[in-house]
């Protein structure tokens, strides 16, 4: 697609998004999420409130203190369970994934364990979330229901009106349900002409266009609550995250060094020893000792040693490229272009990275692209692929697409999982979209500095 056509598409896309919104998949999922969340939120809140209040009250007294504490802990556990339920709903319906809060230490002894549970931030945050969600959820769901009901009601108004006017011919049925402009018995205007009915139907249009955005707004509010109340963006969990990714980085580095050592040992070293052997034999054939001189055989051996040395040099060159490809010195555009050109599957590439990221990010991006393109060649059976690199909001965004058979997934211990871990160590992200039957799109996001 030409650049101009792409730009035109980009200009039109917000308008297209608005028009498509009412019938888009996302809208239905969000409505479902809000509707499902309402009873769940209510039930969860009550299930937590009762033992929490009872526990708090009992703990204040001397006699029931232990029982009170038990009730509090039970309430917190229920809250954590409810929190997981909402996490699951969020990740399933509105594609919001939240980091798992790490479990705190268990504590020893009965009192120790109870204390650990009481101190567990997750429980209290879940209680706060449930409490905040109640008004948000109920008002929000109410609003969404209202807007959609009105929109659908207006859309089908002529039908109601038709039925209503026929009804109204019977004198004792003066106001039918739908001769008024609202589904509810109170208020509203009277529509007396067929033309008016159609005008009402037209009113449905703006409501329909508005409805999904109301939903988005409510979901956005809930997502904010999920991200900032239910999960903690606190320093402690960030530190834990960094510790994990540092461990991954160290393991990764050690594994890479071991691979290099193996490649050197099995490849270059073995070859060089074999060549030394061949030359040793050749020397004998040239009369180094008193054994017979055999120049023809010596020539053969020297030829064989020569060929072996050339292969050793090329193996070492490949190994060096695996450690640091020289082409990266010129920047990502050149390096990615070379990668694309070397692939067996034709790869269309588009690289637009005006600023150079730091060297380590460049290397990670290059090796990610290399592995992803190699996967396209090895597993996808695709006939065409695309490699794009852009700067998006101060992040380097690498996208590899192919029209192959799909089914790519980050299986534990597999290549994509390893790639994801390496990307995580620099706070990047890996998104895989690969339904069976294809096409596959994999997006790698990396910060500009590690």
């Amino acid at each position: 697609m030409s650049e101009r056509a792409r730009d035109d598409r980009r200009a039109w896309s917000p308008l297209l998004a608005v028009i498509r919104a009412p019938v888009s998949n996302r809208t239905w999922r969000e409505v479902l999420y809000c509707l499902a969340g309402l009873p769940a939120g209510l039930a969860g809140f009550l299930a937590v409130l009762v033992p929490l209040a009872a526990g708090a009250a009992l703990s204040a007294s001397v006699v029931g203190a232990f029982l009170g504490v038990l009730l509090l802990v039970a309430a917190l556990n229920i809250a954590i369970g409810a929190g997981s339920l909402f996490r699951g709903l969020a990740s399933g319906l509105i594609a919001v994934t939240l980091p798992e809060a790490p479990k705190p230490a268990r504590g020893s002894g009965v009192l120790g364990r109870l204390e650990a549970r009481l101190r567990d931030g997750r429980g209290w945050r879940s209680v706060a979330y449930l409490a905040a969600r109640l008004p948000v959820g109920s008002l929000g769901s109410g609003l969404i229901l209202a807007v959609w009901t009105y929109a659908l009601f207006f859309l089908t108004y002529p039908l109601w009106w038709n039925a209503a006017t026929r009804q109204a011919l019977e004198p004792h049925r003066r106001h039918g349900l739908s001769s008024v402009l609202t589904p509810f018995p109170a208020g509203g205007a009277r529509i007396t002409t067929a033309g008016g009915a159609f005008e009402v139907m037209l009113l449905a249009l703006p409501l329909l266009l508005l409805a999904p955005w109301v939903g988005r707004g409510v979901v956005a509010l809930d997502t904010w609550l999920l991200r900032h109340v239910l999960t903690s963006a606190s320093l402690a969990s960030r530190v834990r995250e960094l510790e994990e990714s540092r461990a991954l980085a160290v393991d990764d580095a050690a594994a890479r060094l071991r691979r290099v050592e193996r490649d050197l040992h099995d490849g270059a070293q073995a070859r060089l020893v074999a060549i030394a052997m061949t030359l040793g034999m050749a020397r004998e054939k040239l009369g180094a000792d008193d054994a017979g001189v055999d120049p023809a055989r010596a020539r053969e051996l020297v030829d064989s040693a020569h060929a072996g040395l050339k292969e050793a040099v090329s193996e070492l060159r490949d190994l060096a490229r695996g450690i640091h490809p020289p082409v990266l010195d010129n920047g990502l555009p050149d390096a990615l272009t070379t990668l694309a050109a070397q692939s067996a599957v034709p790869v269309g590439h588009f690289v637009d990275v005006p600023r150079r990221p730091t060297a380590s990010i460049e290397a990670i991006a290059y090796f990610c692209a290399a592995e992803l393109i190699a996967n396209v060649g090895k597993h996808s059976g695709a006939s065409a692929a695309a490699l794009e690199a852009h700067l998006v909001d101060d992040d380097l965004r690498l996208r590899v697409w192919d029209n192959g058979c799909g089914g790519a997934a980050a299986l534990p211990g597999g290549g994509l999982a390893g790639l994801g871990e390496r990307i995580r160590t620099v706070d990047g992200a890996l998104e895989i979209s690969s339904p069976r039957g294809g096409p596959t799109t994999i997006v790698v996001r990396l910060p500009m500095h590690a």
Binding site: D266, A270, V273, A274, A276, M277, T278, L279, D289, G308
Partner: protein
């Protein structure tokens, strides 16, 4: 001499086969992993097996374990183990019970074709072949502690060659001295270090190694 080779690097394996064939030895089998090695030795009953320590699947010490198995199951077959790096504990394990028909060489040693084939023939005949590098490390590490200071430079050379498993004649050839001179040095060494007189060359190796492992 009939030989079985176990080496996972194809390049090196082919080179060894060629080398031995060139010298007129018969390579009955050339395999790439420990399991096939034991099976091949069982079937072919060669004079000596050449075994790489690092082989699939884990590339740690499959070859060594196979070598120990061969030593106990087929004592008439010599086993020459070789590896890229010196691992003195592997040498110790190999020589644990007896030093007859055992060898441990660095892969680099293969480049010296004459030395390599001599070592191989020694092992096939029931002798010992320790890599000079192993011996050097042993002597360097322990030398200061033990009574090496008492030996003359010439005696230290003889000791090193003895520890490699060479016979008196071979030592004489290597140092360009007479057989008689070698015998005198050997007797002197045994006296100074307090080693007991042992009959065969491989028992000598054991004696020397045991001395250094005290």
């Amino acid at each position: 001499m009939r030989v079985v080779i176990a080496e996972d690097s194809a390049v090196l394996r082919e080179g060894l086969v060629q080398l031995l064939a060139d010298r007129g030895h018969e390579v009955c089998a050339a395999v790439a992993d420990a399991g096939s090695l034991v099976a091949a030795v069982r079937e072919e009953r060669p004079d000596v097996a050449v075994v790489d320590i690092r082989m699939p699947p884990t590339h740690t010490d499959e070859g060594l374990r196979a070598a120990l198995e061969l030593r106990s199951e087929f004592p008439e077959t010599g086993v020459l183990v070789f590896s890229q790096y010196i691992e003195t504990r592997y040498a110790a394990r190999l020589l644990e019970r007896n030093a007859a028909g055992v060898g441990y060489l660095l892969k680099d040693r293969v480049a010296d074709v004459a030395d390599f084939t001599a070592a191989l023939e020694r092992v096939a005949a029931g002798g010992t072949a320790l890599d000079p590098e192993v011996v050097r490390q042993l002597l360097a590490v322990r030398g200061a502690v033990s009574g090496l200071a008492a030996l003359t430079a010439r005696e230290r050379d003889v000791l090193a060659l003895m520890a490699e498993g060479r016979s008196n004649t071979a030592i004489a050839a290597a140092l360009v001295i007479t057989d008689g001179a070698v015998e005198k040095h050997v007797a002197s060494i045994f006296g100074k270090l307090g080693l007991e007189k042992s009959g065969s060359d491989n028992r000598r190796v054991l004696a020397v190694l045991q001395y250094f492992n005290r």
